[in-house]
């Protein structure tokens, strides 16, 4: 058993209002550069719809992810290694810019340079690739709120895979939003597809990254990823992808998409998994069993055996504490309300989704909701406005049971809390096989109250040893050297380190590196550097 920690995300689709704040803040943070105009590490799709890039989910077109060969062994759907090397001059499975969209800006200068006249000047779209005038006809979010759905949404691979009956039910239209980032898979096919070996998974937290110095632009990561979340920067000729905001994660802050989500629907936390079990789980023969197979690779961080083994294998103690508090582990493995996106791609994705329930409760109350009869709400799950088969095609390779089970739990939590709030003098009557009342209350706290501290449990990276070398050029002398002992301890909750002992001893007078004001806010003395230590070249250098 090889225990590894993985930073994972869960998104509660029930709460997504499709505001695209995550996409915008991500864009501003990571991809507002020439060459990445068309790139959205985070995008929000309206489902049903073709998605971004167009029809990325249909692996019969793009050959992303893994498949099983005739003997049941795992292999890349994009073909053998040799085939990839031989077709390196033209990647047959690569989407073109048309499948994403020709990125455009507007000729804003015209607004102020237009000659005086009676009509208001108008600006025309300009291609960011060529600078020429163009007519935008597709975009990252062209299908927002089902725009153009009558023409296109039936091309959604999840609908194509549905039975005829559900297809006809499409008349009663439905939609929901699907925010997507890189899945930071346990079995990443992009990493396996990269001929240069430039892509890698970080051992510490499982984040999948592209080494910009080693990438040679062979483009196989783009076609290898079934979620199409690796992008080709057309200016630098290198691949780029969602980094899970690792500079933030390393200091214990949530990703920028999570931080700025107004719906507060994202959860970040660690899961522990058995790296040796991943390949076997990914090779499960029936795609509908892949969800359970992936669950089976996850380890319970409260299990004493796992704790002992994990710490023996070098997972820091504070990370183990964080793993036990992890909201994603709770939603994925403890309550089993979150499901993986397209487990049939066999990459073992680690961004999971809680299926949307809202339309169910609506339907239940419209049909004369009786709180004494739990069957009304549970029965209505199957007559959900969003066809349950559609959700199953998205989240469990078409198997309805996990989706139904998740929705039943969510419905139970909702009706229980409704009882508690409204039926104050009556005893709570709804019972569930799946959840105890205590668990339901815990789930309510996690999903509905959703405090910041509960949504994001992110242990800081242990860089203390790597940092020692950096210290010799740091402004405040050898701050880290002198503070070995205290820095070496694990910190679970503190978001910043106060590590400036060089300052604190200057002139024999102790200066606190940080002061607290009347309101209890912490102010760090960022700019004060002891002149004595600077002149002496720091301590011991």
């Amino acid at each position: 058993m090889r225990i590894m920690a993985q930073m994972s995300m869960v998104m509660n689709l029930d709460k997504c209002i499709g505001c695209h704040t995550c996409s915008v803040t991500c864009k501003q943070t990571w991809t507002n550069r020439p060459g990445t105009e068309y790139v959205y590490f985070n995008n929000v799709e309206t489902k049903p719809g073709l998605g971004y890039p167009r029809q990325y989910e249909d692996q019969n077109i793009w050959n992303g992810g893994w498949e099983l060969d005739r003997k049941g062994r795992l292999r890349l759907k994009g073909g053998s290694r040799l085939r990839r090397l031989l077709s390196i001059f033209y990647n047959p499975d690569l989407p073109t810019i048309e499948d994403y969209h020709d990125p455009f800006t507007f000729d804003y200068a015209k607004l102020i340079t237009a000659p005086p006249g009676t009509s208001s000047p108008s600006v025309s779209a300009r291609s960011a690739l060529t600078g020429r005038e163009m007519v935008p006809n597709w975009g990252v979010n062209w299908e927002d709120d089902l725009a153009g759905a009558p023409q296109r949404a039936l091309g959604d691979p999840n609908i194509v895979a549905m039975s005829e009956k559900v297809r006809l039910d499409f008349e009663s239209v439905f939609m929901f939003y699907l925010p997507r980032i890189c899945e930071h898979c346990l079995n990443p096919s992009c990493v396996a597809s990269c001929p240069s070996g430039a892509m890698y998974k970080r051992e510490e937290d499982g984040i999948v990254l592209v080494d910009q110095d080693r990438c040679r632009g062979w483009r196989y990561c783009v076609s290898g990823c079934p979620y199409k979340k690796v992008y080709f920067n057309h200016k630098t000729g290198k691949a780029e992808k969602c980094t899970l905001c690792f500079p933030r994660i390393e200091i214990g802050l949530p990703t920028i998409c999570s931080e700025t989500c107004p719906g507060r629907l994202r959860y970040l936390g660690l899961v522990l998994y058995d790296a040796d079990a991943v390949a076997k789980a990914a090779a499960t023969s029936d795609p509908q069993d892949l969800y359970e197979a992936q669950l089976s690779t996850l380890l319970d961080p409260s299990d004493p055996k796992v704790i002992e083994e994990a710490e023996a294998q070098g997972i820091p103690h504070d990370w183990m504490i964080a793993a036990r508090r992890s909201p994603t582990y709770a939603l994925i493995a403890k309550y089993k309300v979150a499901l993986p996106l397209h487990p049939e791609f066999r990459t073992m994705p680690m961004v999971w989704y809680i299926p949307p329930l809202s339309p169910v409760a609506e339907a239940a109350s419209a049909s004369g909701y009786d709180p004494d009869d739990p069957d009304t709400i549970f029965a209505s799950i199957d007559t959900l406005r969003i066809p349950i088969q559609y959700l199953a095609n998205l989240l469990s390779a078409g198997k309805i049971e996990p989706v139904r089970s998740s929705l039943r739990k969510l419905a139970y939590v909702r009706s229980m809390m409704r009882e508690k709030q409204l039926g104050a003098y009556r005893e709570f009557k709804i019972e569930s096989d799946d959840l105890t009342m205590v668990e339901a209350q815990d789930l309510f706290r996690l999903l509905a109250v959703a405090r910041y501290e509960d949504r994001y449990v992110i242990p800081q990276a242990h860089e203390e040893n790597a940092g020692r070398l950096l210290a010799q050029h740091s402004l405040s002398g050898c701050a880290l050297e002198a503070q070995d002992d205290s820095y070496g301890q694990g910190h679970v909750t503190s978001h910043f380190m106060i590590s400036n002992p060089a300052n604190s001893e200057s002139g024999g007078k102790r200066i606190d590196p940080a002061i607290r004001d009347d309101k209890g806010r912490l102010h760090l003395r960022l700019l004060e550097v002891s002149p004595v230590n600077q002149l002496q070249g720091g301590c011991g250098l």
């Binding site: 020439p34 290694r81 001059f89 051992e203 632009g217 200016k235 790597a466």
Partner: protein
Amino acid sequence: MKGVTAPELFWWVILPYIALATFVIGHIWRYRYDQFGWTSRSTQLQEKRLLKWGSPLFHYATFAAIGGHIIGILIPESWTAAIGIPENIYRWFSATAGTAAAIGVIIGVIILASRRMFVARVRATTSPVDWLALILLAIVIIIGIVETVGVNLLGSGYNYRQSVSLWFRGLFVGNPDVNAIAHAPLLYQIHATAAWAVIMVWPFSRLVHAWSYPVWYLWRPFLVYRTRKAQRPNEPGTSGRRWRRIGVRY
């Protein structure tokens, strides 16, 4: 070196050595200082219908052409004669196989060049040094094809193994036969000179991707894990990382 004039000495001895030195030192410099710029600079994202035919055709035909050059100018005529291949058989092989490669190269080049010139999205990604490299490459290729097809296949033929090859091999043993190349037909002289120019430009252009053909991929494990390592800090006063300024063309 009797009867060698100064310009000839410069053109056929000094220039090749300058080119070779630039090639070697340039690569070392680029590899050490510009890993971030070292890429194949694919334009498949922008355009794929023409690339689908042009790029594989050009690359594979170029491999054939490079193989032909190795046989033609690195292997002495005496060696092929020793295993019983007379000059006329060799020339017949050279001309037919060379023509086959040349047809592939020329069709590939026509597709790729027209794509680069006339597809606006592709043209927009091309940097000045890439234009230079591609134009030089086009000169080398076109003249090389004229030699192969025009002179050796259809024309009277020219035994370059008695002249150009001697000079070329001589460069690597420090004894180039300048007279041999100086009296070769003009076409061969231009071809050789343009080739040296390509060699000189090579390390500074996208051509460096040729050295990154990832054969290693065949036997490395599928999944790559990396662990955090201590990194040396930048030298004081330098920026270290070679990110370029936003908006500057590559």
